[in-house]
Symmetry: C2
Subunit: 327 residues, 2 copies
């Protein structure tokens, strides 16, 4: 199945994205028939010619884009030909098996949810971000799709995250943690207390509440939280990491800082690599950072290809089914 | 006015705390008559003798302590002679003008709130943490005293934080930001939207919503958030900083990482320096990290002395009064 790439999303579109796709093709990591590009036909074709790409993927032409500052729902209503909507439609119609979308995250979430629908049993999609801790890769979700969740949503995020961790991070029996501000089951809001109870009764390998300072210490492979806290935590880490690099630079030990921070932010150092996975929608959707440059494209494509191949979505459906029957 | 020090709080009490007080005395930064120590008379006196401290501060004897893992309210009920309660009582009775408390944060907050009462106009105390961004020191509050605040509490935190920033960080007209997951006034919960409006109408130098990635970039001198998010953010940064140091160590560039992370965490690198300020109670209370070692004592004492001298609490009361009259 092809992967549809929204070539108009993000701060550096389409130039950096075309350069990134060109790299993926010229390196032999991807063939043209694995990709479906959504964006301005002429500009993309001209840049490919310049870069020496002869085997050009099919291009679905459009020049409309929902910009980063636009309200997702407004953009979706006003711009039926927006690149993200065309990419989603291509996926819905079977022309592609997955989507890579840089740019307006809210628009990608809304367009995917509306256009692809949700997987059976799922009530709300969640954004899963991969970071690197003392025990290797771990996934944090939700990172912003659902700031005000119900207990069931968070419980489903645990199941989705576990399926993702098994298939994509090779944790065969992933440990699940609930982000909270204290270790005891009685800590946090009534919402968190209820989710704590459900996870304890779930048969999952639940390690209990995880505090902020434990996030990177490998205590859990899947960290569950609401979209407000998840988004805040992710962005704080991103900003703090940038500041570490800056201060390191001012002090003359530039590269060391970058290396270390990049290792920890893993594929979520969005401007250079990968992106976040939208889980729960009936399709494979990777949302890249709006600041993504060319080097982010190949990792993003590889993640989507792996998700399709391992069948994460099928495993999510099976897991939700099993845990719903058990209740 | 003397500063009461709880010599039994934290993981390394009383040994490291006695060593820290000894350093403060032997360096000449503090005199014995500026301090009132609360803890085991014999042990403290013996260690002072060993360390060559001849001019020993008065010691209020007790051997009881509310441990880090104890529920604050249980500890307060069961241990009337607990060191934190004796320190608070000394402050209430005019024997001291401020308190340094390492150890159980919840117990320090509860004991201070019950024992000292709140400043006129204040409804809830808040924990203010000092961090260092691109524009120098900034204060983040609440960092955990009030996880489920009302709009008024957050508005008061802005006023308290501004008074603290003026007096303690020398920002004469501090900028105020509201931690949120998007820049627009319509972002976040109804709670945050209401606080946004109150801050806009307040006459304070309100810069609007601040996202997580902007926390360290100097955009605001005072960052307002609820105690759940504030505690999470603080601990995430602490844990991420530790992980940066660890990975740096594994890669052989140890000291650079430590320097940079310490600079950013400022006085809130709790195990080595300073602590968090409990604002809103009728007294000056600094809550140190439970992991504090000797080197944390002098900075903590200096902060409390400065808070007493600059009259932060008086300025908080005046600010609340002015802003209540304006409404």
């Amino acid at each position: 199945m092809r992967i549809a790439v929204d070539m108009l999303g993000g701060d550096h579109a389409p130039h950096e994205l075309v350069a990134g796709v060109a790299q993926a093709l010229l390196s032999g990591d991807f063939t043209a028939d694995e990709l479906l590009l959504v964006g301005p036909q002429d500009i993309i074709a001209a840049q490919f010619a310049e870069l020496g790409v002869s085997d050009v993927p099919e291009i679905l032409h459009t020049t409309d884009v929902i910009a980063g500052h636009e309200k997702p729902i407004d953009g979706i209503r006003r711009k039926p030909d927006a690149s993200i909507l065309k990419a989603v439609a291509a996926c819905r119609d079977g022309l592609a098996g997955g989507i890579v979308a840089f740019g307006n995250t809210g628009a990608a979430v809304a367009a995917s949810t509306i256009g692809l629908g949700l997987l059976p049993g799922v009530r709300r999609p969640g954004i899963a971000v991969t970071l690197v801790g003392a025990n290797g890769k771990f996934v944090l979700l939700d990172a912003g799709a659902n700031p005000n969740p119900k207990p069931e949503h968070l419980f489903h995020y645990a199941l989705m995250g576990a399926a993702f961790s098994r298939d994509m991070h090779q944790h065969s029996n992933p440990t699940i943690g609930l982000l909270n501000i204290g270790g005891e089951a009685s800590k946090g809001s009534p919402l968190l207390q209820e989710v704590h109870k459900r996870l304890e009764d779930s048969g999952l390998d639940f390690v209990g509440n995880v505090e902020g300072n434990q996030l990177f210490n490998g205590v859990a492979d899947v960290l569950v939280t609401d979209g407000f806290v998840g988004n805040m935590v992710l962005k704080v880490v991103e900003g703090f990491g940038e500041r570490v690099i800056q201060v390191g630079h001012e002090r003359g030990h530039d590269d060391q800082m970058k290396d270390v921070v990049r290792q920890l932010l893993g594929v979520s150092d969005f401007s250079e690599a990968g992106g976040a996975n939208l889980l729960g929608v009936n399709g494979v959707v990777l949302v890249g950072h709006g600041r993504s440059k060319a080097s982010a494209v190949l990792p993003a494509l590889e993640i989507v290809r792996a998700e399709i191949k391992t069948g994460v979505n099928q495993h999510i459906v099976e897991s939700l089914q099993a845990h719903t029957e058990n209740v």
